[in-house]
Amino acid sequence: MSEDCSKLDRLKSDFVHLFLQQSETADNVSKYVYDNLLDESILECIFEIHHNASLGKYSPENDEPLLTESTPDMTVTSAAQHLKKAVKCVCPNCNRGRILPSKFAPHLECCMGMKRNSSRIASQRIANTGKESSYIETMSDDDEDWQICSEKQKTSKKLDLKKKKTKKGPRPKASVPSDIAPINVESVDNLATLLSLDSSSRTWDTETNTCMYLTDSPLSRKKEKSKSKLKASTP
């Protein structure tokens, strides 16, 4: 039986081959195949439309005009405006209507309390600053080690400051005005006495371009002292 079957199959295939080797028959078969293919693709479209029609999408009451079927007097921009006007959201939590779709997500986030509430914490802190007078007091209650460390740091900082001051002290620029200043003030105070002095008692010092008083007043003595100090510091 199997041999007969195989022979029959071979004969059949040979016959088909012979049949197809004539180009006319090949034309016929290709036309047949093409017709079937076209029928199938038409059926695909029809099934889709029939499915929608059976759901009632194309009924005259529920007639939603698509963009492809829009009326000729309706331009694209007007259609877009129509769409813009139509879209508005309603918040399900607070029932607030007329929220734009772009603002809807942040609004819902705030409304449901999911948003990061740093602003609220900050406002609370501002409100509490009046009650809690100083920030350091609250911190000292918490941690002793930290406090010790901070004290050490503070003392070290103070020491540094002192060192800096001592370093700054012997500078000539800083010392000179501090020494001279009181004398100048005194000189301003005793301007009347200076003016009352005779011109003969004054001499012009060319080296330092200052007035020298020959009279043995305490003021002149102080000036001389300052000059000697200046001379000592300047070289």
Partner: protein, 112 residues
């Protein structure tokens, strides 16, 4: 047309090898490219609106099939026919001279 006709056997062979599906995809692609699918959908929608939701698929098919066949561009039709024919001839050994001779001799033997 009987089930065992050579046309049907060729058709079944095409289906079994998977070439038929390839041709169907090609045709679908070409039809979408040229806008045939949209045209058919518009026609179907109009008919469905006229007849209401009680329309059957067979009614739609009867009305649309003729229009659909006419609307297919000639270039697409020619391309598909050419490709299917070429494929069939290639499978049958039309371009293979040795196989052609062999089959001819086999046919002669069987005839004698």
């Amino acid at each position: 047309m009987s089930q065992s006709s050579p046309r049907n056997t060729a058709y079944v062979d095409l289906m079994q090898t998977g070439d038929y599906d390839r041709f169907r995809e090609l045709l679908k692609k070409r039809l979408v490219e040229c806008g045939w699918c949209d045209q058919i959908q518009v026609i179907c929608r109009e008919i469905a609106r006229e007849k209401g939701p009680g329309i059957t698929a067979q009614q739609l098919m009867d009305e649309v099939a003729v229009k659909g066949r006419a609307l297919v561009p000639n270039s697409v039709k020619r391309e598909l026919l050419q490709k299917v024919k070429e494929h069939l001839l290639k499978e049958a050994g039309y371009y293979d001279n040795e196989l052609k001779k062999k089959t001819e001799t086999a046919a002669d033997e069987s005839m004698s």
